[in-house]
Assembly symmetry: C2
Homo-oligomer: 259 residues x 2
């Protein structure tokens, strides 16, 4: 897990030769029906889920039955996905993803929010505060690569009492896309689940949750203003700043059983 390199540690005036574990980073190029679609910088695990999750996020796959072939070459960092129907790589659809911290043109971006709006999240899920705190501890225990290498993000799909699927990646978005890909391939409908992430909740992470109809987003970190605005509109509960015995509910607080 990770890669080892020689380094030198300085600690309180002393130096020590150290062998450290680093998180691996690879370029991973996804071809959709023979067309180069994107290259992601990512961790080299679950590349099948990442490829599918990315294409689902871009609207190029809508049903699992559409996937006619999936070949992943882990060593070379390549995936070929063949699918029917063969949807056009809409420039703006791809462009939306094609930015360091997100999205396409301003207009395109808000249209995306509108599109998702039509499927406002419906659920009877209600979390107890002790479940929120317990999920965070469980996420931390599962973060194996993080514990060895640090510098890696985790995402978990959770029932109120368990982290059911956990994925790690050097990219915040990739970790969530792996969850998205897993759910799509396995035909899991996460409409009564919590998406727990280790990183910040930006508008993009929020819109991915909306795309999956996930009603609750949970993070140790905080949301941006745009994420909260969209979450209010789309019916999603954001629980952030969650650490031992504390959290903040930023939107749709009706899904947390507060005293």
């Amino acid at each position: 897990m990770g890669k080892q390199v020689d380094a030198v540690t300085w600690y309180q005036g002393q130096i020590q030769e150290t062998r450290v574990h680093l998180a691996m980073e690879i370029p991973f190029t996804v071809y959709y029906n023979e067309r180069e679609t994107v290259t992601l910088l990512c961790s080299p695990q679950e590349l099948d889920e990442l490829a599918i999750g990315f294409l689902v996020g871009e609207g190029l796959l809508k049903q699992p039955q559409e996937i006619k072939g999936l070949v992943v070459d882990t060593a070379r960092g390549l995936a070929w996905v063949s699918a029917e129907p063969d949807r056009p790589l809409a420039k703006e659809a791809i462009g939306r993803r094609f930015v360091t911290s997100g999205c396409g043109s301003g207009t395109g971006y808000y249209s995306l929010a509108d599109a998702v709006l039509s499927a406002k999240v419906q659920t009877s899920l209600v979390l107890l505060p002790r479940q929120v705190n317990a999920l965070l501890s469980k996420m931390q225990n599962l973060a194996q690569q993080y514990q060895v290498t640090r510098g890696i993000h985790g995402a978990g799909l959770c029932s109120p009492d368990q982290v059911e699927i956990f994925r790690e990646d050097i990219g915040r978005h990739n970790a969530v896309d792996k969850i998205l890909g897993y759910c799509f391939i396995k035909e899991i409908k996460p409409e009564d689940k919590v998406l727990a992430v280790t990183g910040r909740i930006s508008s993009e992470i929020m819109l991915k949750a909306a795309k999956m109809s996930i009603p609750v987003l949970l993070s140790r970190s905080v949301p941006t203003d745009m994420a909260v605005i969209f979450a209010e509109e789309l019916g999603i509960t954001i629980i952030g700043a969650a650490r031992a015995g504390k959290f903040i509910v930023y939107s749709h607080r009706e899904r947390v059983a507060l005293p």
Copy 2:
């Protein structure tokens, strides 16, 4: 600074109505000679530096004299940059940036590294351990938005004893691009400077430092394996995992005066 919203805080069994500050996130579209080039999700400050820094990073601007006009509409999140010569928006050059955590095609990516390689970083800069620790404290004091909102990244261009320029953004890459844009506009050659960042050191952040010929990268967080491989080749010192009284030197340790 930031935006205030109503939220509810749960802390050790008690709830409290809270007014919280959130980091602002806006979509920001950059036009280069009338052509839409990219939309970034970013913090709404120093948009002129971000636009220029992005275009420099993409190789569309090479000398400050090339900029013939720069108009930023902060309210609508738009920038128009006119420049001569009018370089083509190479699909692969733009594509490289167009990914959540990075880059274009694998090939394109490594070509970029090769291109930078020709200008291997040369400097006589040597840092003392106490300077490393002092720079980190100074960065922390400057992180005003972070202190109010959390969930925001900082980047600082530093001499051994001072943080000379400090920029914040919700995106790790954007904060560094703002520094890059500032240096380009002001014609500052940061060849004897340290680039301090709050986030992880991915290969992209490393290549941005190389593009600026910055010899030392410093972070509280850790590098990826690819960042360290490139740093070794390009002559850049990576100091990571830097916290009170401790740090790790991952590459080119000759620039840290270790006992």
